[in-house]
């Protein structure tokens, strides 16, 4: 019972992290039809920058902001210089993203080496919280869940309750029409890519603080984003939340009960969803 509860709690924590990473991924896909295969690299880039700033200033919150903002800027740059010029050629854009991910990962390896880095979050977020049955649970993991809920709410409000959100949703439905109405679609695309990338960077700092940062984490979060949006449905906010919860729980409960085969659970869920609903649980058919 304790094991199950602990695995469930861990699953929800991991789901929170996966959600923050995948929501940026799905936003970018929704508007631009780009599968941003550099998303994992942006995650780890944010983590490293956040670490540098947090350790040199001694302020974790500054590191969080720096990770999010600088990766958002990197995203703006990627979309405006590389991806925008081949807009509409989805496969080519995805290949460009793959190329970028290789270069970013290699340069980060050159700069930071193969060691694992550990953050020092502020004392108020650290330590543990007493809970029934499992006794004590790390506070920061609960902070991750809180952060995921806040990010989810903010993105939902942005997309469904603001003028900018109306433009994004219109762009998802009909890009040429939106352009004909006088909206500067390339600029909107650049902003959305920046937002999605910034979320990956933010998640990097949060995830790096909850666990650790090391080379190879980029692949892990890229995989989680892929599986979450395949299961939840590409471009759907609620689908991303459901997918993240499903995959996070399956992964952690699997790890607790059959550690050497747990990733197969993710595969089975993905294959089952693709067989029954190829567009994902909450996705719209093409």
């Amino acid at each position: 019972m304790k094991l199950f509860l602990l695995a469930t709690l861990n699953g929800i924590t991991v789901a929170g992290l996966y959600f923050i990473v995948a929501i940026g991924f799905t936003l970018i896909f929704g508007l631009m039809r780009v599968i941003n295969l550099a998303h994992g690299s942006l995650y780890i880039l944010g983590a490293y920058i956040g670490y540098d700033v947090a350790t040199s200033t001694g302020n974790w919150y500054l590191g969080l902001a720096a990770g999010g903002v600088s990766v958002a800027l990197a995203g703006l740059l990627i979309q405006s210089t590389l991806l925008d010029r081949i807009q509409g050629q989805e496969m080519r854009q995805s290949l460009v993203a793959i190329g970028l991910s290789i270069v970013i990962a290699d340069l980060l390896l050159a700069r930071y080496g193969g060691l694992a880095y550990q953050f020092d979050p502020p004392a108020i977020l650290y330590g543990s919280v007493p809970l029934p049955i499992v006794r004590a649970y790390p506070t920061f993991r609960l902070v991750v869940v809180g952060a995921a809920v806040i990010v989810g709410l903010v993105i939902w409000l942005l997309v469904y309750r603001t003028r900018f959100g109306i433009i994004i949703r219109a762009g998802v439905d009909d890009r040429p029409m939106l352009s004909a109405l006088g909206v500067n679609v390339p600029l909107v695309s650049i902003l959305v890519f920046g937002l999605g990338a910034g979320l990956a960077g933010l998640a990097g700092v949060v995830g790096g603080s909850a666990l650790s940062i090391s080379p190879g984490e980029d692949a892990r979060y890229l995989l989680s984003s892929l599986v979450v949006v395949i299961v939840g449905g590409m471009g759907s906010l609620s689908g991303t939340a459901i997918g993240a919860l499903l995959i996070g729980l399956a992964e952690q409960i699997g790890l607790a009960y059959f550690p050497t085969y747990s990733v197969i659970v993710s595969f089975v869920i993905m294959a089952a969803v693709l067989a029954l609903r190829p567009q994902g649980l909450m996705g719209r058919p093409e």
Binding site: M91, D106, L107, I230, L274, A275
Partner: protein
């Protein structure tokens, strides 16, 4: 008429020359160039050929071809004698080989079954996810896949008293298998199956309306590609003498795509050209330019190709040739071509 005949002779002369070069190559080149460059480029080219076949004739860009090769490699390693069970192979090698090729083909079919209902970038994404899941499985599973360490000390079988991994033997083996697979793929795309596959690539709806079972053709294509990749996986296992999660990790998976794109994703021969260039960069760029930053070099090369010549080196070459021809012809009868 006379011109045509002489062109025919020129062609025969060219083929003879090429065959002579291929056969005599290991007798004058140093061993490093025979095995580490020549044979390895062919092994990589075979795995890439499976992707180029899928992409060029089926319109399906899969990132999981290295995974298929890895399934075959792991199967053979598990059934063979290796460092952890020295000398006690589970099965004699012909059986183990057959099972390895079969399981690779099956893996290809399974990946096809899971992913063919999507297309384009979604297929790319799903195959990437499947491949990465297999990578994490090999890494976390200690009972079957030996976890992080994988398998070492796997020896190639001995046939007629010769180890297949002897440098010259291995070179001829790879070359022979590579040519046979290339010929088989070239033949297959002209069979009714191949023609239907290309029809599906161009217009799946029309082919479905004509009564073709679209998904079945696509899954079969994944099976064919799976067999080709499995052969490459077996050769790769013998070449490296082992296999570990790194052999099927994201870098290895993406490398196959890079090789295909550098050569030219639209044509099977792009696979070998890309593989040769990739192996050359891998071996020499490191020493010549930037130590240990091979991935940056290859990533940037890949980016430049994708941004400026999406049809790869073959595309560049064909454009150059077309321009030259046009230059020669343009004087008398204008640009008809």
């Amino acid at each position: 008429m006379l011109l045509q005949v002489s062109a025919g002779w020129g062609r025969i002369a060219r083929w003879t020359l090429m065959a002579a070069a291929i056969i005599s190559y290991p007798h004058f080149a140093p061993q490093f160039w025979v095995v580490n460059i020549g044979a390895y480029a062919i092994v990589l080219g075979i795995i890439t050929l499976s992707l180029t076949f899928l992409a060029a004739y089926g319109g399906m860009v899969s990132l999981a071809q290295m995974t298929v090769a890895g399934v075959a490699g792991y199967t053979l390693a598990i059934l063979s004698s290796h460092a952890a069970n020295v000398g006690s192979a589970i099965l004699p090698w012909p059986w183990a080989l057959a099972i390895a090729l079969g399981s690779g083909t099956l893996a290809g079919i399974l990946i096809g079954l899971v992913s063919v209902r999507t297309k384009g970038i979604s297929l790319l994404m799903i195959t990437l996810a499947i491949g990465m899941i297999f990578f994490y499985l090999t890494q976390q599973n200690t009972t079957l896949f030996h976890g992080f360490d994988g398998f070492r000390g796997v020896k190639a079988p001995i046939v007629f008293g010769m180890s297949l991994r002897e440098p010259i033997v291995f070179y001829y083996l790879c070359m022979g298998v590579g040519i046979a697979l290339y010929a088989a793929v070239s033949y297959m795309v002209r069979t009714p199956f191949g023609i239907a596959l290309q029809g599906i690539r161009d217009n799946p709806r029309r082919l479905a309306a004509l009564g073709y079972w679209v998904e079945l053709h696509q899954v079969a294509a994944f099976g064919v590609a799976g067999f080709v990749a499995a052969v490459g996986g077996v050769l790769s296992l013998w070449y490296h003498g082992g296999i570990s999660p790194g052999s099927v990790g994201i870098t290895a998976m993406v490398n196959i795509l890079i090789v295909a794109v550098i050569g030219g994703l639209g044509q099977p021969r792009g696979a070998l050209i890309g593989a040769l260039l990739f192996v050359l960069i891998q071996n020499f760029a490191i020493d010549l330019f930037i130590r240990e930053r091979f991935n940056t070099v290859i990533g940037l090369t890949f980016l430049v190709i994708v941004l400026f010549s999406p049809d790869g080196l073959i595309g560049i070459w064909e454009r150059l040739r077309r321009n030259r021809k046009r230059g020669l012809r343009s004087a008398p009868n204008g640009a008809t071509n």
